[in-house]
Symmetry: C2
Subunit: 353 residues, 2 copies
């Protein structure tokens, strides 16, 4: 590019506590560059591009842009809209480039998960094929911590800290009232990855501390093992605190929320409906005979800015900054990665594995 | 009483973020008095007294006692054990006095809700009837904020702050992803009282902010109204954030979780099971035709010390202190109350009423 061009920043997929911190990093860094004029925001991710719903986010006040760093969820707006392959959805990709052209956009910063990285990659390829000058940079984002290449993902640290605290606090609640509410199940996010569930163990200091059991989607979950585990902990401590990922699956890879066997039926023979927390709750009450209850933090866990990790906020911001710095240095089509030593974390959580 | 006597402190009912702050106030104030020797803790409330499971809590380190002020749940242990009338459960009441006598306990500080205040009152009456020197003082505690006489209850301020923050944060999440996850339901505690649900509106600044709808147990809930309300908000904003108390009831006073009418059935004609969040979720998806999800904070809301209200912590501590001060000043059988101006709060929440 010669002279100044415009940039666009978009957010995709499930919000996190810090995806706005990344956007802030992109915007503030881009506004420093003499190659970039305006920075547009795309309302609701790639949908906003397709529908040409853009706004000049660099025209917002300095204070408003800075406040993004500590605002949860996705302030520019997110979406779940998966573009298919270039062959199948060529019209969509061409539309994206058309909108970019009409707004003189030559830098595309896309914060999202694996699908968003893939979308940015395909837009980039079509631009190259058609001779349109475009730099596409991915900014990693997901609470699930399951992105390729990067050691960990912005968004994960905050949900990990929050969930660990929630397990410790609700664990004390269960300990206080175990004579009545003997078993608590904390259902957490992570449909295919157990990172969030695993993090719930981070605040445990002794063997008596919650959580006593953690079930992750990667393990082969069976109701038989659940019942045996709960009985063992109950016998030892008189109370049980369980953390369960929302995506628990049986050995055949089927979600237990779609289970049809004997354990999936209540005492009237009706199939148990509901999420993992509810099903575990029902099976434990029926098979172990102790009173159980479940907490489902839901979207509150991924947007808990009130207890966000400052490290996570800062890393997310830096990922946004680095995407712009790399683009200005001539890189293209490379998502930002982070490197890190995982060993201390693995050691801490070994007892649950 | 002439000379020194021992005191006992017990906790009852559902834990809160600050019931330990009250215990701390009792213990630290009692240890200042020259009328009190040891302060016993009763493991798991009145159950601990009945089973003579007491321990000398005043023998704990100064640091450990002080840490109670910022420790959630009930560190001494709580229970849900309702003593019946003096006539029906005389043996239990006599057992309590017997245990008190054998440990030279003449001061009984009981932190709890209406039932606990009642228990303390009955123990007090029997002591008076049988000529045993006993001072019983109630320390108010409940997240539900439904205790008689006191303006508000220690425990409520913290859950109110937490739930308001959760509604604001999850509301931003819904706003970010409304193109897909259009409706969010936040189920909160309060089986018979809507104070916690109402508090979820405290962080809303504009009409567009979550929560858009709040349903409390005191209102006559109908599914027809729910569907009409959701349609109206959806038409106006394109998204809907609902806060619902766990104890919603229909006009006949029946819990909607036990509903049997047309709205209570899924599209296969099966009766919806589960809590309020789950039922509202199913009815909205079926009748309004938008995707909904629900968060159930469960016990996490009542023990969220990580976001407790400092005012609440301090008030809870002072209630504990005042109970001891009043006992030392010769009062007996009077629970501690708080007075407060409710008008600003009522004004803030008027739009939901």
């Amino acid at each position: 590019m010669s002279g100044k061009a415009n940039a666009i920043v978009a957010q995709s997929g499930g919000p996190t506590a810090v995806i706005n911190s990344s956007a802030c990093g992109v915007i503030q860094e881009a506004m420093k560059s003499d190659k970039i004029d305006k920075v547009f925001g795309a309302t609701n991710g790639i949908l906003g591009v397709l529908q040409e719903e853009l706004f000049d986010i660099s025209a917002e006040s300095v204070e408003a842009i800075d406040a993004l760093k500590r605002t949860p969820a996705a302030a520019i707006g997110s979406c779940r809209y998966k573009l298919k392959s270039l062959e199948e959805s060529r019209a969509d990709y061409e539309r994206i480039l058309e909108v970019f052209k009409s707004h003189d956009i030559h830098y595309f910063f896309y914060a999202g998960g694996n699908d968003s990285m893939d979308t940015a990659d395909k837009v980039n390829k079509l631009a190259a094929d058609t001779g349109y000058d475009l730099v596409c940079m991915g900014v990693p984002k997901t609470v699930d911590n399951d992105l390729a290449f990067t050691d960990h993902c912005p968004g994960y640290g905050s949900v990990a800290k929050y969930v660990a605290c929630c397990a410790a606090e609700a664990g004390k609640d269960t300990e206080a009232l175990y004579t009545r509410d003997t078993c608590t199940i904390l259902e957490v996010m992570g449909r295919n990855a157990g990172w969030i569930a695993a993090a719930a163990g981070l605040a445990a200091v002794s063997e008596e501390d919650a959580p006593h059991l953690i079930y992750m989607p990667e393990t082969n979950f069976t109701f038989e093992k659940l019942v045996a585990d709960v009985k063992e902990v109950y016998k030892r401590l008189g109370r049980v605190f369980i953390v369960a990922g929302e995506g628990l699956r049986d050995k055949d890879g089927n979600y237990i929320t779609a289970a049809t066997g004997e354990f999936a039926k209540d005492s009237f023979g009706h199939v148990q409906l509901g999420g993992v927390g509810e099903i575990l709750n029902a099976v434990i009450e029926k098979e172990v005979g102790i009173k159980a209850r479940f907490n489902k933090l839901g979207t509150n866990q991924r947007c808990a800015m009130h207890f966000a990790s400052l490290t996570d906020v800062n890393e997310a911001y830096m990922c946004g900054q680095e995407a712009v710095k790399a683009a200005m240095a001539g890189e293209n089509g490379v998502p930002v990665f982070m490197r890190f030593d995982r060993k201390p974390l693995e050691k801490k959580l070994a007892k649950y594995l």
